[in-house]
Structure formats: C-alpha cells, structure tokens
C-alpha cells in the first residue's frame, strides 16, 4: 500500500515537472497546483496525452495561457465530452488570436457557460430560424401588421412582437419552436382581444401605474386571453395547456387565480373588466408567469399607441374627405355654404360569433353603403383594434391646413433660373396635364437628356459577389423561361407534321391549286419579342441605401436580361421645376451591356425632385420607337411624384396618371415597383390595380425586381 502511494506521488511529480517544463514559471504561480496535478493524474492516458499536446501548442503562443489551460482542463473534462473540450480550446485560442490574452482567459474560465451552450446547441431554436414562419403565422391570424424582432425582454408594443433571440428551455428543438409560436400568439392575442384598447391603457396609466398592479393585470389578462383563445383557437389552447408550468405549487396558485377570476371567462369581458379585478388580488401571491407569457411595459406601449392613433386619425379623415369628394354630387355651386352636408356614418356589421373583426363594420354615405379599398379597411381595422369602434372624431372632416394633398396653384420655374437653351441638342419640350384646368399646358416642360457620369466599377463586382447565390437562382428562373418551347406551325421544316396544313394542302390539291410547302410544326423556342424601358427614380429622397438598392437591382437585372436577350434600356429621371426636367441615359436600346454601362450604373446618384409625367412621356416615346411586340415601361420609385412649385399631391398624381394613360393608348404597358409603404393610396389610381408591386423592405429590392420582371413577361 505504501508502495502504491509512493508510486502515485512519483507519478504526480513527473506530470508536474513535465508540465512546468512546457509552461515555464507561469504554472508554478498557480495556487492550487497540487490539486490540479492530482486531478490530471486521475484522467486516462488518452486525455493526458491530449493535455500534453495542447499545453505544448498553447505554450508556443503564450505560456500564461497554457498555464491557465492546465489549471482548468480537468474541470473541462469533468463537465464536457472530449469533443466539446476540443471546441472549448478552439474558442479561447480564437479569442487569443483576435483579442489578446485577457479576453482569451475570460472565455477559457467560463467553462460552465460553454458547456451549457454546447448542451443546448442541439435543442436551441433561434428567432432567425423561425422569424419567417412567425411572420406568416401572425399575419395569418389577422389584425394589424406586427413586426417580429429580437429583444432581451419579451413584450409587445402593439406594433411589434419582441421575442428572445433563442429559446432552449426544453430538451426537444420542436418544443422550443412551439414555445416561440405560443409566445408570439399570446402577444398577438393582446393586440387582437383588446388588452391595449385606449381606455384600458389610460386607466392603467392613471390609476394602476405601479409594478404590483401591472403584475396582477398581466396575470389576469393571461387568464382572460386564454379563455378567448380557447373559444376561437381550440388547437392553440391545447398547446397552451401543454406548455404551462408543471410545478405543483404554481399549478395550484394559477388554479386559485382562475377560480377567483371566474367572470373573466365571459365572452363579453374586456380589458376593463380585468382592471376591475385587480383590487381583489392584492392579497394573493403572484403565480410565476407562464413560459409563453411576456412582460408589460406600459410606457413603451403608450408611446407607440399615442403616435399611431394620431397618425391614423389624420390618415382616416383624409381618406374620408377624399371619399366625400369623390361621391359629392357633381352639379354643386361653388359656394360651400350651400353644399348639403353628406352624412358619413359607420355601423357595426353583423357578427355571427361575437369575434372582434376588423371587417365587422359598414361605412355609409347618406345611407348608401360604400365599398372600401383594402387600404382603408386595414386602417379602419387598426383603429378598431385601438378603440373597439370608430370614434366620432375620426368621422369628422379634417380641419383645413392638414390636408397636404390639396391642390395648389401651379407656378412655373423659380425665379433666377436661367432659361435653358432650347437649341441645345438633347432638349425637348413636353406638355403637362393640369387636372385643375382639365387641360394640357402645352410645351410646359423642358427636358434635357444627359448621360450619367461613370462611377466606380468595383461596385459592380462587389454586388455580384454579394448576391452570388441569389443571382444563380435568378438566372435559373430566367433560363426556365427560355426553356419553354412552343410549337410554331406551318413551317417549311420541323419536328412534326402540321395536320392542319396537310389537310389544307389536300383541299388545295383536290381543287387543283398549288400546294404550300409549309407543312410542319416546329418546337423550337419562340423568340421573345419584348422591349423594356427601366425608369429609375433619381430624386434626392433616394439618397443612401435606396440608391444603393436601386443600383444593385439594376446590376442583377442586367445580368438576367442579358440571358433572356430582351431589348432593354435604362434611364434615370429627376428634375427641379418644369424648366429643368432631366433624364439620364444609363443604357439606351442600341448599347450593349458594356463596361461603360456598368460604370454608369455604379455612377447613379440622387439628384433633385420627382417630376414623373414628363419623364414618362419622353421615355415612353423612345420606347415606342423600338420595334417589339410587347413594350414595357417599368418604374423603380421610392415615393409619389413631387417637384418644386406645386407639382405634388393630386396634381402630380393626375399628371403622371395621364402620362401613363397616353402610354397605354399607344400600346406600352406600364408597371411600377416601389418601396413606398403608402403606395397603395395612389399607385392603383396611377397604374391600375394589378400593375404595381410594393416592396416592404429596401433590402429585398434587388432580389425582387428580377423576379417581378420574370413574372411580368411570361
């Protein structure tokens, strides 16, 4: 026995000596060295060899780090599998390489955290993975558009759902995924079932703005919302019960709360009823929040709601004013005093099951029901979510002065601008449609055609690199378009006999006529006969990432179009006043996609304003001169037409609309791709209901443009 322990001692001394040799004096400074060495001595041979090897390698970089490694590695082997120990080493070495010794030691010492993460890695579900799904899911449930974002705290501010970056509470990834879904659904329920009606918010802010009351409110609302969900979404309700706390004490406490809050199960109960119950629960212990429950941040909700309510009221009143205008009797005298008041009224529609529904109302004008646009329906729906009804003040006409769309007198060029030389080459005169006069202003606009100065070519290669994967997909889709074969009939040669032609030939033969030799069907790809003009908004408002996204879109589009062989041209447009309208040639129909064109794309920069009508007239004319069966004018834009001197609001929209109608009459199809989220207010009027696409995120523009083009032309 004594012999054995003597051998052990010798063994430990040898290990210590070996390791000290590797690390130098650094290891000797560690206080509990003996304990560490004895732990290492207890590891198996393979692990010891591993430690020796890595201690040597780490010491080659830094002896201090190697000493730290030795003192922590027994613990690492203790709480992780061997493969994870290797990962732990990789991580702190990476830290050392990138940030130096201090950071490396911090990450080395956090073995527990690292081990936890490794354990959870297989089960973790991240928001990044689920975001798209959640977005679709919540949108499908209905109501106001809610953004989904990651945040340390889980809550809603009634416009966004804030969820943790990842969830790894449960051992199965699928369970964690479901918890994401349930958390999001529960927060959605707050916005849908009236937790944040304005009355509730005001009452809470004025009378119950202490943490204790809010905590009680949160739990009571949870009970009320669960009842609502159980009525409307039995499937979700089952999952909610599965994911509730299992701990006996918590279960009993929640049951006690549910029993006490019995009246909240009534389908007609509201957030106000929940508030009335708060005082009954001051003496009871708070149960732990359910795993799917979020927290409540009254101030954040308040801030978001108040600003939304104000904006939506104005937008709603504006829309109603417009409705009144459109439906106003035509033969009115100009005198406002004698215009009979039009009665706009809102009445609640029939609700079969008492569900809150944003479409459960009917707007009537002088007793006649009015069909609402989708946009106005959504707006009204959002207002109903805040108020539970459309408040009276929303139905009142807007005070004058806030209605920025109002028509203004047109004035020509601003003073001091020298008259551009009309004899200059590349200068054109165009009329403009004045909707106030219902007439053209002849030769009102002077337009010059300029060329974009070349920019840095590296932008192109960077873009191609950035969208390498996406570009491959885009090209594949476009190739598929090309691959579609259609039979061409009555060909002099081909893959198949054209029966129609043969029969006709028989008839001709019988009648003693000459026989045509066009008797075959050919399945060769039909030549595409499309010419497209891209009109790019170069107004000042595109400054920054919009401009970048536009340029990136053009690069991807050109790559794809080269493949299709469609004829295309790209022009930018901008201007300041009617006398200084400008279009910038980036690529005309005759040019190839050359280095110069690429440099011009890169050189597109924001200029001044958006006078759209004249640009459409000019570019449409260029397009008309090309020979193609299908002619397409596609506008990339970021907002409504606007220029110096009254070219805005209705005037600008009407002129643009008129220019587009002129194009349509001459056989040009117009389409608009915009990133303006308010575009639905005016684009359907300008382009027609199916002729525009709104892209909600600038980032998506480059990917979407090519896709939209493909859909448009197949």
């Amino acid at each position: 026995m004594a012999n054995q322990s003597r051998q052990n001692l010798l063994y430990r001394i040898r290990i210590q000596k070996d390791l000290e040799e590797i690390t130098g004096p650094a290891l000797s400074r560690h206080s509990n060295l003996e304990a560490i060495i004895s732990k290492i001595a207890n590891l198996n041979d393979q692990q010891q060899v591993f430690i020796y090897q890595w201690a040597q390698l780490i010491a080659d970089s830094n002896a201090e780090l190697a000493a730290h490694f030795i003192s922590f590695v027994p613990k690492a082997f203790d709480c992780m599998i061997d493969a994870d120990v290797q990962k732990w080493i990789d991580l702190f070495l990476k830290r050392y390489d990138n940030y130096g010794l201090g950071k490396a030691i911090i990450s080395l010492e956090d073995i527990d955290g690292f081990a936890d993460e490794q354990k959870n890695r297989g089960v973790r579900c991240s928001l990044q993975q689920t975001n798209l799904f959640l977005q679709h899911f919540i949108r499908g449930l209905g109501g106001r558009e809610l953004k989904i974002a990651s945040h340390d705290e889980t809550y809603t501010n009634t416009e966004g759902l804030f969820l943790p970056e990842s969830i790894s509470i449960f051992p199965q990834p699928k369970q964690n995924f479901t918890l994401y879904k349930l958390t999001a659904a529960h927060l959605w329920a707050q916005t849908w079932y009236g937790t944040w009606r304005i009355q509730v918010l005001e009452k809470l802010t004025t009378e119950y703005n202490d943490q204790k009351s809010l905590d009680i409110f949160n739990r009571l609302e949870c009970i009320r919302l669960n009842h609502c969900i159980a009525r409307d979404f039995p499937g979700l309700n089952r999952e909610f019960s599965e994911f509730e706390h299992r701990d006996a004490d918590v279960v009993i406490l929640w049951q006690l709360w549910r029993d006490r809050a019995g009246p909240l199960s009534d389908p007609t109960s509201t957030g106000m009823d929940t508030i009335k119950n708060i005082n009954h629960f001051l003496d009871v212990d708070l149960p732990t929040l359910q795993p799917y429950q979020g927290e409540i941040f009254l101030d954040r909700i308040r801030e978001t709601m108040l600003s939304r309510i104000k904006q939506e009221q104005i937008a709603f009143q504006q829309s109603l004013d417009k409705l009144r205008d459109e439906n106003a009797p035509k033969n009115q005298t100009e005198d406002d005093d004698f215009v009979p008041k039009q009665m706009l009224e809102v009445s609640e529609g029939d609700s079969s099951d008492g569900e809150p529904s944003e479409t459960n109302f009917q707007l009537t004008l002088d007793g006649q029901p009015i069909e609402l646009s989708d946009d106005l329906k959504n707006l009204a729906g959002s207002i109903m979510q805040d108020f539970g009804e459309i408040p009276d003040q929303h139905m009142e006409p807007l005070e004058q002065g806030e209605y920025s769309d109002a028509l203004q007198a047109q004035h020509g060029e601003s003073e001091g601008d020298p008259d551009p030389d009309l004899n200059e080459t590349g200068t054109f005169q165009y009329p403009e449609w004045d909707c106030t006069r219902q007439r053209f202003r002849e030769d009102f606009c002077t337009l010059r055609e300029l060329v974009v100065p070349p920019g840095n070519e590296s932008f192109i290669s960077e873009t191609l690199e950035k969208y390498r994967g996406a570009l491959r997909t885009i090209k594949k889709c476009f190739e598929a378009v090309l691959g579609e074969s259609r039979p061409q009939r009555r060909q002099p040669e081909g893959d198949d006999i054209d029966l129609d032609a043969i029969v006709n030939a028989h008839i001709d033969l019988a009648q003693g006529k000459d026989i045509s030799d066009h008797l075959y069907t050919n399945y060769r790809n039909q030549e595409r006969n499309v010419a497209v003009m891209f009109m790019v908004d170069m107004s000042g408002s595109t400054l920054g990432w919009v401009n970048n996204a536009e340029r990136e879109s053009l690069v991807l589009l050109c790559e794809a179009l080269e493949l299709l062989g469609d004829r295309y041209a790209i022009y930018g447009f901008s201007g300041r006043t009617n006398k200084r309208c400008e279009v910038y040639s980036i690529k005309n129909f005759k040019e190839n996609y050359s280095l110069e064109v690429r440099q011009r794309i890169s050189g597109i920069r924001p200029k001044a304003y958006t006078r759209m009508g004249v640009a459409i007239r000019h570019l449409g004319q260029i397009l008309q001169k090309t020979h193609a069966r299908t002619k397409l004018l596609i506008t990339l834009s970021d907002g409504r037409p606007e220029d110096y001197g009254g070219y805005k609001g209705q005037y600008g929209i009407e002129d643009t609309r008129h220019a587009l109608l002129e194009m349509k009459q001459s056989g040009v199809h117009a389409f608009c791709i915009t990133i303006d989220s308010e575009a639905q207010e005016y684009l359907p009027h300008m382009y027609g209901t199916a002729n525009y696409a709104v892209i909600d995120e600038v980032k998506k523009l480059p990917l979407k443009v090519a896709d939209i083009y493909r859909r448009l032309t197949t």
């Binding site: 209905g142 409307d232 039995p234 499937g235 079969s352 299908t630 448009l712």
Partner: protein
C-alpha cells in the same frame, strides 16, 4: 361532305347545380342574355365563376359548351378544322362554331390563357353584328337569339402578356366575383362537402387567415373551391389537419416556411 354535330342533349345541364347567389348577378346575367350582350366574369380562381355559368345554363335551360383555354389554344381550335376521314376531308365544327350554330351558351374559361388570335375571332360575335366568320368554309354564321357568349378572366395575374385588351373587354357586360361572405361561404362548404357546421366554420376561418397572407408570401389565399375540397376529405374521415395540409396548404405553396405557417394556423383552430 358530311357534317358532324354535337348532340344537344349531351350539353344540357340536367341537374340543378348548387349555386349560392351573392348579389343580383342572376338578374343581371338574365337581363344581359335577353339583350344579347356577351358576359365577362372577373374574379380570383375558385370563387365560383364556372359554377355560376353552369347554374345560369340550367336556369335558362340552354345547353352549354365550355372551353378551358390554354396557351396553345388557337382560333381554329375554337372555330373548327378539316379532318381526313377515309380519304376524304371533312369539316368539323369547333366548340364555338357549334355553340353559335345551335344557339348554345359558349363559355371560354380563362380566356387570357389562349393565344391572341382567339380574341380577334370573338370580336364580331360580341358586338351588334353577332357574326362568326368561318374563313375556311367561306361562311358567315349569324348567331341565333338564344346564343350567349361568356368568358372568364382573373385580373390578379400580373403578366402583361396575359392582359385582356381594351378592344375585347369593352364588348362585354362585366360581372365581378369575389370570395363570398363568411356566412355564405360556410353554407357553400357545408352543402358541397357534407361536413357539419362547426367544421365548416373553422374551414372558412382558415380561408380568411390564408387570404390575410395574400401578397405577403402567397399569390392567392385559399379559394372556396379549396375549402370545399378539404371539407370533402374531412367528410371522408381524413383528420382535419391532414385534410387541410393536403387540400389547402400544399396546393397554395411550395415554400417550407409558408407551408408550416398554414399548417400551424390550421392546427390552431382544430
């Protein structure tokens, strides 16, 4: 030369088709028919356009010829062609000619899918002339008063190549269709699939949820037809979630995230 004709009785809609009116479309169609005006049915896929026209054929007691237009459908497919039979060339009327000759209802489904030349041949039929020129026969066929032309068209397609020309559309009386109101849709689903009211209610609710997603990942929401299909599967003892997965979610999308979203939405209400 012998003539082949399509037998009248084959084209009759014998049984009253189930149709739930949503407005005054029956009265308008009848009035247009009496005034010999052609009819354009607009609306998204699966909202009941074809069912409506079948109903009207039954209502007006007229045989009906339906042509499902595809992108290789030419004018001669509609009008007719010569065929060789026993060494002889014989003329065979196309569906449109046959309908004109006998005074039927001719329904061109999804007209924009057909080739451009088809819209030109229907032009003289759709205005005051009501004539069908058959070039190959050298015939000018005048439509009898009972003849009625109806076409359907889905304005939601964003393709310039699939747009209906003004010169065509301005010859028609247009009836716009959309998915029916929730209560009506519920009644339709119950009637068509045989499921009970509570399931129909949930199916319609799911339909509305998917329609919320239109334009945000889905090109179209679930149509009434899809809801009916799912209802039929449920009626044949397929579990609701499975029925919806196969009849609705898979039919709507190939994208995994979107499929999962529709799947979870269906699970949440069943």
């Amino acid at each position: 030369m012998s003539k082949t004709t399509i037998k009248n009785e084959q084209n009759f809609v014998k049984k009253k088709p189930y149709y739930e009116p949503v407005g005054d479309e029956i009265a308008i169609f009848t009035a247009a028919y009496k005034n010999q005006l052609p009819i354009l049915l607009k609306g998204p896929t699966g909202c009941g356009k074809t069912r409506f026209i079948e109903y009207m054929a039954w209502y007006l007691k007229l045989p009906m010829v339906t042509v499902a237009c595809h992108d290789d459908l030419t004018a001669s497919d509609l009008i007719g062609r010569y065929l060789i039979k026993g060494g002889e060339t014989i003329w065979v009327d196309g569906p449109l000619t046959s309908a004109v000759r006998h005074g039927y209802i001719c329904y061109l489904d999804e007209i924009v899918e057909a080739r451009k030349d088809t819209s030109v041949v229907i032009h003289p039929l759709c205005d005051g002339r009501r004539l069908l020129p058959i070039e190959k026969l050298g015939e000018l066929l005048e439509a009898p008063s009972s003849f009625c032309l109806a076409i359907s068209y889905n304005p939601g397609y964003q393709s310039v190549l699939k747009d209906l020309k003004q010169s065509t559309r301005q010859r028609f009386v247009a009836l716009e269709f959309d998915y029916p109101e929730a209560a009506t849709e519920e009644a339709i689903v119950i009637r068509e699939s045989g499921i009970d009211q509570s399931i129909a209610h949930k199916l319609v609710k799911l339909g509305h949820m998917t329609r919320n997603l239109k334009g945000n990942g889905l090109e179209e929401g679930a149509s009434t037809r899809l809801l009916v299909n799912a209802g039929k599967l449920i009626h044949s003892n397929v579990t609701p979630v499975n029925a919806i997965d196969t009849a609705i979610s898979q039919a709507l999308t190939d994208e995994p995230d979107m499929f999962q979203a529709v799947h979870e939405l269906s699970r949440s209400i069943f």
